[in-house]
Symmetry: C2
Subunit: 517 residues, 2 copies
Amino acid sequence: MSRFLFSLLIIILPVSAHSQLPAVKASKQWINSEGSNILSDFAEILKIPNHASDSVNISKNAVQLDQMFSKRGFDMQVLELPGAPPVVYGERLVAGATRTLCFYVHYDGQPVDPEQWVNPPFDPVMYDKALFQDGKRIEYPKKNEPIDPNWRIYARSTGDDKAPLIALSAALDALENSNIDLTSNIKLFFDGEEESSSPNLVDYLETYSDLFDDISVWLLCDGSVFQTGAPQLKFGGRGVTSMEITVYGASRPLHSGHYSNWAPVPGQMLARLLTSMKAEDGSILIEGYYDSVEPISDFEKQQISKIPNIDEFLKKDLGLVQTEGNGQSVFEQLLLPTLTVRGLSSGNVGSRARNIIPSTATATLGLRLVKGNDPEAMLDLIEAHIKNEGWQVVYEDPDHETRLKYPKIIKVKRNKNGYPAGKGSMDDPQILPVINAVKAYTGDKLVLLPSSGGSNKMYYVIYNMLKKPAISVNIANFDNNQHAADENITIGSLWYGIELYSVLLTMPQGPEILIDK
Amino acid sequence: MSRFLFSLLIIILPVSAHSQLPAVKASKQWINSEGSNILSDFAEILKIPNHASDSVNISKNAVQLDQMFSKRGFDMQVLELPGAPPVVYGERLVAGATRTLCFYVHYDGQPVDPEQWVNPPFDPVMYDKALFQDGKRIEYPKKNEPIDPNWRIYARSTGDDKAPLIALSAALDALENSNIDLTSNIKLFFDGEEESSSPNLVDYLETYSDLFDDISVWLLCDGSVFQTGAPQLKFGGRGVTSMEITVYGASRPLHSGHYSNWAPVPGQMLARLLTSMKAEDGSILIEGYYDSVEPISDFEKQQISKIPNIDEFLKKDLGLVQTEGNGQSVFEQLLLPTLTVRGLSSGNVGSRARNIIPSTATATLGLRLVKGNDPEAMLDLIEAHIKNEGWQVVYEDPDHETRLKYPKIIKVKRNKNGYPAGKGSMDDPQILPVINAVKAYTGDKLVLLPSSGGSNKMYYVIYNMLKKPAISVNIANFDNNQHAADENITIGSLWYGIELYSVLLTMPQGPEILIDK
C-alpha cells in the first residue's frame, strides 16, 4: 500500500477491535503481561530460513513447531513423504466437543534476495513504524515495558505466514492462563511448501487421510486483513489457469527493409487476435465465457453490498482514472471470470530493438475462475474463439510442411495445473458459527468476502476434494510486503491474531441465527 | 537462404556471367593465372580483427589498405577525426578523364561471438561448398591448381565488406597486366565504422570536403547480389526511423486475482491501439501515411516489372502461405512506407510468466520510408493517430499527478536518428553509363532495383547532402551470412567482383542511349 492510501486509512480504521468476550479479555491480559516474551519467542521462529528447497532448515522449522505445540497439549506428528518438506500435524481433543477445527498455516517462505532488503531477511528487527514512514530501528521491549501496536518486526515470513504460529500458541497460553476451555477439537496442519505451490499437498491429504477425515472446518490463516485494515473473513477463492499463445510469421526473423509490407508481422497479428477477445470496457467477447458462472446467494449479495467501497481510494493510490467494468466496484468484479494479458513478447524493445520482423509473437493469458467455471472448459472456449478468428491451432512449433498449409498458425499451450474455484456458501451451518463468533468480537466492521479474488489451492482442495468448508481467518497487516523484500508485521496485527484465534478456539457450538441475517 | 531455395536457384542461374568485353577478358585471364595468389592475399586481409571499437586492429587494417592501394598507383591518405576510426582515402587521376568514380567500401565488421562459429572468425578457412551443404574444409589452392567457383571462404567480413577490397585490387592488376586504361578518375573511401552506423561519416565528408567535391558517382560495394543470385544494381535505399510506445496501467504491477476485471490491462490496451493502425491485409490505417510518397518514373516501373518474381520461392522458403499487400510482389511493396511491430513487451512470458497485471506494455514500431517521406512528419502522423484514438501523449514516464488526469496515457519515444530515403532517378545522365556498361557485361539477367528495401545512410548522405548519384554494385553471394556467424563468400562471387569492377573501371564516358530504354 502506498504512503498515501496508508495515511488515509490508518485514521479511519483502528488496528484491532475491542470486545468483552471472555476469551478476548484473557488474551488482552496475557498480552499485557507477556507481550515482550511473545515477541522474543516470535523472533526465534523467524531466525530459521525457510525456503521449501532448503531441506536442512525446513527440518529445523518443523522440529521447532513440533516442540512448540507439544508443550501446549497437542499430540504432534511430523508427517513425511519422499522428497517433500514435512507437514507438521497436531491434534488436541476436547472432551464433549462435536466439532473439529483445523488451523492451516504454512511455515515455509518465499525465496529471498538479501541485496534487496534493508536488514538481513532472517535477522528479525523491530522498527518504531514502517520503513516507508521513515521508521527507526528500536530494541525489542523488555518485560513490562509498554509496547506500541504500530511497531513492526521486519523479517521473511513475519506476515506470510509465521505470525499465525505465534498468535495461535499465545492464544492457547492466554486461555490456559485464564482457565477458559476450548470448545472444539483442534487440529494443526503446518505446510512446508506453500510458497512452492504445495505440490505434495494432495498426496499428504490422501496418504494420511485418517487424520483429516473428521475435520469439520478448515481455518486458513494465510493472508492479510481487508485493504482498509478492517478485519475480514473469506469463504473461498477463485480458480486459476492460463494459456500461452504464440503466432507465427516467417520461419526466421526477417530484415524489415527487405520484407516488411509483405511478410506477415506476428506482433500485429497477435494484437488483432487479443483485440477480438476483449472490448474496451473490459467485457470478454469470447462466446460463452460468462455462461457457466454460478449465481451467488442473496445472503452473499447482501454481504457484498456491505463491503466498504474502496474504488476511489484504490484509483488514487494506483494512479488510475479509468477502470474496466463500467463502474462496477472491484469486489463486484471478483465475481466474474477474468482474461488478462499477463505477458507479451516479440522481438526486442528498448536498446535491444532491431530492424527486423520477428518470427513469432507470444502472449500469456491469465484466467481467474469463479464457481461454475471448469478450467479446461474455459480454455476450450478460448481455443474455439481463436479458431473462429481463422487460426489453425497447433500444440507444438509448426514444422515447415504445416507452415505451408495454413495462412494463420497459432500454438496454444494450455496450463495443465489449473484448478477450479473453491467456494462454499456463507450460510453453511458450519460456517455461520464462525461468522457469529468473529462478529461478536469485531462488531460491524467485519468484512465478509464470499470469495477472494486470488486463488489458493487449499480452497479448491478442501471444498472440492475434502468436501468441507474452508474459511480464511487472516491477521497480517495489508502492507506486510508479502513475497517481497522487507516483509513485516505490525505488533497490532499479532495482538489481533491472538485475540481472533482465542475467539475461534472458544466459539459456541451451534449455528445460531446470525444477528443481521 | 535455406537449402531448399538455394538448391533451386543454383540450377537456374549461373554464378557469374560471360562477356567479350576486353576488361572482362583481362580479368578472366588474370584470375586464371593468379587466382591462388588472390585468395591467399584475401586471407591476409581477413586475419585482422575489425570491429570499429577495436582501435588497435582497426589501425592495422587501415595501414594494410593504405599499402595495398599505394602499390596500385593511388595517392593514399589515412584521414582521421578524434575518437573515430580512420577513413582510408585514395585517388588515382586518369589523363583526360571527365568523370570521377568513388568506390565506397567499409573495412570494419560486425562484432563476433566465436562460440557461435564453426571456425574462429579471423582464421579464414576454405570449404569445398557451404557448411549447410555439408561442405568439407579444404586447403587453399596452390599456384595453377584448378579452383572451383563454388568453394567458399569462411571468416568475418568475407562478404560484408572485405571482398570488394580484394576484388578491386585484383581488377586493377588485371587491367594493368593487359595494358587497358582506366576511363575515369578513381577515388577510394574505405569506412572504418559502417557496422557501428558510421556516426562520423558526415563529419568526415564535411571536414575533408575538398577531397569529395569532384566525385561524379559513388559506387557502393557493400551488400549482396539479387536473391536469385542474379547480378543487380541498386540506385537508392529507403529511409528509416522508429518509434517506441509505452502504455500505462496502474502505477505498479497488480495481483491478477485481486484486481483483474477492474484494473486496466496495458497489454490489452496496446493490442487495441496496434490493431487500429493496420488492417489485416497490411494496409496502414494512419491518416495521410501514403500521401507524401513520390511516384516513380515510367522507366523505373518498367524495370520493376522485369524483376524476376520470387514471391513463390520466398513463401516456400520462409514457410508462408499468406502475405501482406493483397498479392503485390515483394518488390512492388518496397515502394511504400512501412509500419512494423518489431518488438513487443509486457510482463513476462514462458516460465517467468506470473499472475500479475503488468503496469506497462511497450511496442516498438519500425518505419521504412520511401522518397517523399520525411521521418519527423511520418512520426507526427502516428502521434496524431494515437491522439485521435483517445490517448494522452507524454514523452517521459508520467508522474502520479499526470496519471490522475488522463484515462489513457501513452509515452512516445521518437527515434532522433532517422533519415529519409536516398534515391535518384535511374535515367540520370551519370547513372545511365553504369547501367549500360554493366548490362553489356551481364546481359539481360541484370536486375535494376530503383531502391533497396533496406536503408543505408550512404544513399541518404550522397543523394541528399552531396547531391550526387549513388549506385550499389554488390558482389557477395546472397547466402553469405552477413552479420551472423559463419560469414562466407563463394570464390565465384570474388571472380564476379573482379570482372564487374574491371568493367566499371573501363566503362565508356558518355551517357549513350540505353539499349532497351
